[in-house]
Each structure stands twice: as structure tokens, then as C-alpha cells.
């Protein structure tokens, strides 16, 4: 997506931060000194923005490099075990989905010059990888439901507020499920008759994920969550929203975010309005 000035604002948003973050050694994630602890807090708080940048703009992220993936595994099994939350497990998966989406895009561009049997082989391989990740996502969803019940039971004697971390995890689960389906369902290689089976969601499944994104966005905004967390899920929802009500709801959330200080939310409003205006069945004009 691009804003009205043609600038990839989100790509720029973390450019400086990610440039410096990349220069940190992954082992700083598992260090136990004060500096490493502070770097770790920063990393875990802000990595979702680098991941969102990668997903929205279909660009590679250093977070999918093996050295970072290994360092995270080491963190959760060692010094960072007390920091673990299902949200972190989901965020660990997202760079791989971004990398898969990039592979798929490159294949779609290159396929026109490939022999038919090579096209089919690559389409099958990509579909198989997508199905594996989809299974992981579904397993995460059911495991997280069990974890949430267990955690709620343990906390029953203590005053506690909403688990905003869990809400954020849920909203990204719904968004990435739609995103993963979109990696395939926009392309003929996986939707034509006799195409390889791919992790493509039905319309009713997409609708469910979309409405959960809207419901949880409302909840997170009421809890004061930073609006930038919602840009990726709402943008994904916007790409699939068909009804006027859903579209107006999405725009209202972006407007709310803009009122809270994020002027750049206006770029999303403009981007979605442009997308929807190209939909001849549902011409829509933003206020």
C-alpha cells in the first residue's frame, strides 16, 4: 500500500530502528546483564512492527533469518521462559509466513516463463508448505485456548485486568489466517480446477476472522492500546470487507487512531477508500 504522497510511510517508520536492531547480535536476546535485558525488552515490544512492515509491503525481514529464529528458541527455553506468552509463540511464526508469501509472489511472477510441469511442481510445493503453516496456526489457536483457561484459573484469586497481550495475539491470528489464505486465493495456480490443495479459507471462515478482527479492535482501542498495533489487522480486514457496515467500522477505527495522534492513519483511510472505489459492486466514499 502507499499513502497519498506515494511514500511507504510504514516502511520508513522503523527503518532507523530496524537498521540498528539488525546490528545487535542475536545473542543479546539471551544475555543476563542489564544492557541485554533492556535490549530484550525493546526487541519483544517492537518486533511486531518490523514483522507488520514485512507483511504489508511483502518485503524480507531479518527476523526470518535462522540465527534470529534459533536465538528466540534459546530464549524461551532458557532465561526468557518467564517472559513467554502465547503471543510470543505466534509472533515467532509470522516471519516464516512472510517469507512464504514472498516465495509465492516470486513464483507467480516467474511462472509465465516456466514449463507447465515445473509450474505445477512449484505450486504443489508452495501449497504443501502453506498447509503445514496453517496446521501450526490452528494448533496454536487450540493450545492457546487451553493456556488461557489454565491461566485464568491460576489468577482467579488475584485482581487482574484484561489480558491485552492475548487480545493482540488473537487479532494477529485472525489477520494472519486471512493473509495466509490470500497468499494463494488471489492466484490462479491454486484456485483453478485441479489446482493443488492450498490453505485457502472459505468465505464464511474469512468472514468469521474479519468480524473477530473488528470486535477485538474495538476492545483493544477501549483499553488504550497503541493504534499502530491495529494497522496491519485492520488493513487485512479492509481488503476483505464487503458490506458497507464493515467498511464504515474499519474506517471509524482508523479515524479513532488518527484522533489519538497517528496522523498517518489517514493514509490507510485513503488507501482503503481507493481500493473499495475500484470495487464496482460496492462504490464507497470515505467521509
Amino acid at each position: 500500500m502507499r499513502d497519498s504522497t506515494g511514500t511507504n510511510w510504514l516502511s520508513h517508520f522503523l527503518h532507523g530502528t530496524c537498521a540498528i536492531l539488525q546490528l545487535q547480535h542475536p545473542r543479546s536476546l539471551t544475555g543476563q546483564d542489564d544492557l541485554s535485558t533492556q535490549k530484550r525488552t525493546f526487541f519483544l515490544t517492537t518486533r511486531i512492527f518490523e514483522i507488520s512492515r514485512s507483511l504489508i509491503y511483502s518485503e524480507p525481514t531479518f527476523l526470518s533469518e535462522p540465527v534470529w529464529l534459533e536465538s528466540l528458541k534459546k530464549l524461551w527455553s532458557g532465561t526468557g521462559a518467564s517472559l513467554w506468552h502465547p503471543k510470543e509463540a505466534l509472533f515467532d511464526m509470522l516471519p516464516r509466513i512472510s517469507a512464504l508469501s514472498l516465495r509465492s509472489m516470486r513464483f507467480c511472477r516467474a511462472s509465465v516463463e516456466m514449463p507447465v510441469d515445473s509450474q505445477l511442481a512449484e505450486a504443489q510445493a508452495l501449497a504443501a508448505d502453506g498447509l503445514l503453516i496453517q496446521q501450526e496456526l490452528v494448533r496454536w489457536w487450540t493450545d492457546t485456548a487451553d493456556w488461557a483457561q489454565y491461566a485464568a484459573g491460576k489468577k482467579s484469586d488475584l485482581p487482574n485486568g484484561p489480558d491485552t497481550e492475548l487480545l493482540i495475539a488473537h487479532i494477529y491470528y485472525h489477520a494472519i489466517s486471512i493473509y495466509l489464505s490470500g497468499t494463494y486465493d488471489y492466484h490462479g495456480h491454486w484456485v483453478e480446477p485441479d489446482a493443488p490443495r492450498a490453505p485457502i479459507l472459505s468465505q464464511s471462515q474469512i468472514d468469521w476472522h474479519l468480524h473477530e478482527i473488528l470486535r477485538e479492535s474495538r476492545e483493544l482501542l477501549s483499553y488504550g492500546i497503541a493504534g499502530v498495533f491495529l494497522f496491519f489487522p485492520l488493513r487485512v480486514a479492509g481488503a476483505r470487507a464487503q458490506s458497507l457496515y464493515d467498511r464504515q467500522t474499519i474506517l471509524s477505527f482508523f479515524s479513532s487512531t488518527a484522533h489519538r495522534g497517528y496522523a498517518v492513519a489517514d493514509a490507510f483511510i485513503e488507501d482503503l477508500s481507493d481500493l473499495w472505489s475500484r470495487d464496482t459492486d460496492f462504490a464507497f466514499k470515505a467521509n
Binding site: 522503523l14 491485552t164 495522534g261
Partner: protein, 167 residues
């Protein structure tokens, strides 16, 4: 992964166009008027606003507890971080004031201070990059993050969010 940080050869955060113009050409009469009429700002208000209002409206992590403690600890030793906090705080306060009191005369002064703090923070971070001293200090990570946040909170005319010489 690299064992030594590479020497930075890029400006990764642009200076805002308005302040760039001020530094490259004679200051205009109107800009002098604004500078003369601006009373010294009590930055303790901006600091308090950042932690008690801005972060509460922009929760970045569960309860924000570790984030707040880290920022409070780090900012004492980092002018880049302090100025980035002042910039974000002043900008946000100004926006809220504009929303609630559109005709308030303090808005232009608030914008000026926000941009000034942003520029000072950018210069501090750039200096750390040029001296290759940015990788050791986690406050630089938060400084650049807050500077990025400042840019996405600003209208496009205030900050240049375009290409900056590095892909």
C-alpha cells in the same frame, strides 16, 4: 551475523524540512517573531505527560511496566532519548489541545518545540552513529523508535518521511 557493527554510511532519519530550511538560509522575520515570543518551556510537564498520559493512551506492552522503567532509567544518561520523549510528548499534547481547543494560541509554540526537540534528538543519534557508539546503548534503540513514532504522528508536511539514502 556480523561480529563488528558496520560503519553507518547513511542518514536514516531525515531532519524535518522546516528546520533544515532554518539552518541553511537566513532566518525569516516571522520565524524570529516565533522564536522571540516563545517562553522557555517547562520540560518537566512534557516528561510527566509522556509517562502519565501518552503511554497510557498508547500501551506498547502488557501494563507497559518494563517499558516505563527502562525509559525512566535510560533517559537520565541519554540526551537523544530525552529529546525524543520531549518531541513526542509536545507533539501529542499539541494535537490533543488542537482537538479540544482549536483556537488556542499555544499550538504554534508547541509545534515549534516539538520539532526543535525532534531535530536535537536526530542530531544526537546521528552523532552516535558517526562515532560508531550506537550499538552498545539500548537507549539509542528507543530513541530511534520514538523518532519514528513522532513521524507517523506528524502530518506529512512536518516531517520528510521519504527516501533517505538507504534502502
Amino acid at each position: 551475523m556480523r561480529s563488528q557493527p558496520r560503519k553507518a554510511a547513511f542518514v536514516f532519519v531525515n531532519q524535518p524540512k522546516r528546520l533544515k530550511t532554518c539552518s541553511q538560509s537566513p532566518v525569516s522575520h516571522s520565524e524570529l517573531q516565533i522564536a522571540r515570543t516563545i517562553a522557555p518551556r517547562d520540560v518537566s510537564n512534557d516528561l510527566q505527560y509522556f509517562f502519565t498520559s501518552f503511554l497510557q493512551m498508547n500501551i506498547l506492552a502488557d501494563n507497559n511496566l518494563h517499558v516505563e522503567l527502562d525509559l525512566q532509567n535510560m533517559m537520565h544518561g541519554s540526551s537523544a532519548l530525552r529529546d525524543a520523549i520531549y518531541a513526542v510528548s509536545a507533539l501529542h499534547r499539541n494535537k490533543q489541545a488542537q482537538f479540544l481547543l482549536p483556537s488556542s494560541p499555544d499550538c504554534s509554540q508547541g509545534s515549534y518545540f516539538a520539532l526543535q526537540s525532534y531535530s536535537k534528538s536526530v542530531q544526537s543519534v546521528q552523532s552516535l552513529i558517526e562515532r560508531n557508539e550506537f550499538t552498545r546503548d539500548p537507549s539509542t534503540l528507543w530513541s530511534t523508535f520514538l523518532l519514528g513514532l513522532f513521524e507517523v504522528c506528524s502530518p506529512p508536511s512536518i516531517c520528510s518521511c521519504g527516501s533517505n539514502g538507504n534502502s
